[in-house]
Amino acid sequence: MRYLYFPGCTLSTKAKGFAASGEASARALGIDLVELSQWNCCGATFPLATDNLLALVAPTRILLNAQKEGNHLVALCSICYHVLKRTNRLLREETDKREKLNLFIEEEYRGEVRVFHLLELLREEIGFEELSERVQKRLQGLRVAPYYGCLLLRPFQEIGLDDPEEPRILDDLLASLGCEVVEFSHKTECCGSYLAMNSSEVTRELSYAILHSALASGAQAVVTSCPLCHFNLDYRQGEMAAHYPGFTQIPVLYFTQLLGLALGIESETFGLADHHVDPRPLLASKGLK
């Protein structure tokens, strides 16, 4: 199966391990992720103002480029997925805005491309039962907290990936890999997101609450699908240790890293050494590397 693929900026810079593990895992499962021949930044935010069409030009151009090469587009980053999926819906359903955007890009695009998250592809094209059978090395004994954040699931009416309050998709994926999946209260709470830019204090507090809840549920690692969540949850742990006495550091992994390990792929390119909290001792203790 060949799918067009939009890596996005972060996966090409700060989250190379996410990209490499995602691409390798997909390939091992027979999903050929073909990078768009031309792409730009998606803008990384879907505008909150309903008349801010200028912010939608960048994602419209990506979708238009995708249409020239196929009819599907896969993203790995939650934010890219969020922006592309919502822009695509708007282009499909809101005629007046579509007309303006088309005038702006001087081409015709009507929202025909179908936008996927890799998780969605795994659920719908492979299926978690089937995936479970393809696992080479079960991640037995690894207790993980699946963390969804906000943008992967919301707003439900536009994204429609899973129940935004009680999602299952990441839980089910991790369970199919053999992980022990813990229930934790903060799996859909916000990590602070872009507040990382101007208020490290707020992001630290929000991210701490998430990690605290995961730790309290007995998790040994937190799993995410978003590079910004990863940054807030992983990188801030140094500050957290200084601020919150008794805080135990906990590795934060991308779901693709665990997927790749479970599929028996050589993890050299997975960027496991680049994490602030090194996950390798935990993985090694479960016989994974």
């Binding site: 129940d163 309050e165 009680e166 209260s185 309290a216």
Partner: protein, 568 residues
């Protein structure tokens, strides 16, 4: 040749503001067949109607056209008027020059005037070919079917039976009493619902006119107003009944908690809904009236009540207000405080809707005497933490987030139509709204009737309601049934389809298209026949019939062609 009188209404300024009524009246005066033409300020007024009566008598009119508002408004009025003057009412027609002309052409008086004239001319053509008709007589079985044995159905049953007419009460469950039997007590005075119901149930079950069928459901409905044929499946057997009227009182259930996953109902034992809490408070409930956490049986010291849990929330639940929750939540919080005086009750609310006699005072009592803590804001999330249920909410008055570590969380989930209501509505051929509640015939003026003649509505099957409202509606539906039963005979509008037996080939297409099952192919003659009392005169068969054998009385091809002829 027929002598038609034309009465052009100004409707104050509604018509006269866009249509030059004097010019229209003048133009009609010379139209073929028009013997008399006059305009008047309000033809529907008493003097306006007198004008029609006098003209019929003095000018010997045998056809009347009233050019006014939509026939939906006043056709019946004017037909009654001409009947009073001795003319067959079906020789009177209404030409709609308001909704279909003056209201939509306010900016072009010239063309509006021309259009009004033409509309009236077409109706004059129709009246010239109208035949005098007599209403069709129908049979009337003076026995009522009541579907649902909750408080609304019981009230309707007892009122109808008290007037001496037979009642068949069909109840799906083991016994009657419905939701009210599951409640702990009423609001305002904490009366025992079980005691209140006992009287009502005895009044119904002891009345010799009432047959109560429990564990029974309506399987099929045939027939029509005055003469319904009902098949009831009871404990596995089918039974047939004949009734003249039906009262639907199928009640409600609560919105499924699992659809509000952020609150964790059904997932966490200590998150329950309002009805579950009622069972806990009820002396006949599983705990004998003791308030206990379902998880471990401890007495909850902190209880959070969440109002509007899924109501007034189009994104996660339903858009409407469930109406009774503000009151029953206040009652539940007060009953909790009476039982656990040292405990704390919190109520999260959007606003308090205490719209009823004594209701506002009741909620105030909860706040002042029982120290129930009201927090204005929504709850965003409930999750377990350290053996408690952590409730996250907002207090919009202080502008701050609130966290409560509660022992028990009670969700005031909205009332929704009871399971199977939609299927029943289809069997009864009654419309439902987008939420599945049964639709009333008119939201203001006909609240207990459905649009299906002979089918009436009572209680929460129509919309969320509390006990006194359900009782009032049960009585109102009973009054409608009784006014039907007290008539000597009932009649049906004679504007129905007829079949020209010379032209009918018996193809059966009309049987397929008829939405009212008013058609069949006669077993002997093999041509189509019309069951007149079922026919609603919709005209579907006219269009479908390839031979033009199906015709509608007073909408014959001759008439329609003459009407078109007036226009072109």
């Amino acid at each position: 040749m027929r002598k038609v009188g034309v009465f052009v209404c100004h409707c104050g300024n509604n018509i006269a503001g866009a249509v030059e009524v004097e010019r229209v009246t003048e133009a009609l005066r010379s139209y073929p067949g028009v013997a008399y033409s006059i305009d008047y300020l309000y033809v529907c007024s008493d003097p306006g109607q007198d004008l029609i009566k006098e003209a019929i008598a003095e000018r010997d009119l045998d056809g009347v056209v009233v050019a006014a508002c939509s026939p939906v408004m006043h056709e019946t009025t004017f037909r009654r008027t001409v009947a009073a003057a001795g003319l067959n009412p079906y020789l009177c027609e209404v030409a709609n020059i308001r909704e279909q002309c003056s209201w939509v052409h306010r900016d072009d008086i010239e063309r509006a005037t021309l259009k009004a004239t033409q509309i009236i001319e077409t109706i004059v053509e129709k009246v010239r070919h109208d035949e005098p008709l007599l209403p069709l007589a129908m049979s009337l079985v003076r026995r009522a079917l009541i579907i649902g044995g909750g408080i609304a159905g019981l009230q309707a049953a007892s009122d109808i039976a008290a007037a001496g007419y037979g009642v068949i009460l069909v109840e799906r469950e083991e016994g009657v009493g419905g939701r009210m039997a599951q409640l702990s007590g009423t609001y305002l005075n904490f009366d025992s619902t079980v005691d209140l119901l006992r009287e009502k149930i005895e009044a119904v079950t002891r009345n010799p006119h009432v047959t109560v069928l429990t564990r029974a459901q309506v399987e099929e409905l045939g027939g029509y107003l005055g003469d319904f044929k009902v098949k009831v499946r009871r404990q596995g057997n089918d039974e047939e009944y004949e009734v003249g009227a039906i009262v639907v009182a199928t009640g409600y259930e609560l919105y499924p908690q699992e659809w509000l996953s952020e609150y964790g109902g059904e997932r966490y034992p200590d998150v329950i809904d309002g009805l579950e809490f009622e069972r806990m408070l009820s002396p006949t409930g599983p705990t004998g009236g003791e308030i206990r956490c379902p998880s471990d049986g401890r007495v909850p010291q902190e209880v959070v009540f969440v109002q509007c849990a899924g109501s007034r929330d189009p994104e996660r639940g339903v858009a409407y207000c469930s109406k009774i929750c503000c009151m029953y939540t206040a009652k539940q919080a007060m009953m909790y405080k009476m039982q656990v005086p040292q405990g704390q009750a919190y109520i999260f609310y959007i606003d308090i809707r205490a719209l009823g006699k004594g209701y506002e005072e009741f909620t105030q009592r909860g706040m002042e005497e029982h120290r129930v803590l009201y927090l204005r804001g929504k709850v965003s999330k409930v999750f377990p933490q350290d053996g408690k249920m952590m409730v996250w909410g907002a207090d919009t008055l202080s502008g701050k987030g609130v966290e409560v570590a509660a022992d028990l969380v009670v969700l005031a989930t909205p009332m929704v139509p009871s399971a199977g209501a939609f299927e029943l509505a289809r069997k009864l051929r009654v419309a439902t709204d987008k939420h599945g509640f049964f639709s009333e015939a008119h939201p203001k003026l006909r609240p207990v009737e459905s649009l299906t003649p002979g089918v009436y509505l009572a209680g929460a099957c129509q919309a969320p309601k509390d006990i006194p409202e359900a009782v009032a509606q049960g009585s109102a539906a009973a009054a409608k049934v009784l006014s039907l039963f007290s008539q000597e005979k009932i009649t049906h509008d004679p504007i129905v389809a007829v079949v020209d037996s010379e032209l009918c080939a018996g193809c059966g297409i009309c049987v397929e298209v008829c939405p009212y099952e008013a058609r069949e192919i006669h077993p002997l003659t093999k041509i189509a026949v019309v069951k007149e009392v079922l026919c609603q005169g919709c005209g579907a068969c006219l269009v479908a019939c390839p031979n033009k054998a199906s015709q509608l009385r007073n909408f014959t091809p001759t008439q329609v062609m003459a009407m078109i002829g007036a226009l072109v």
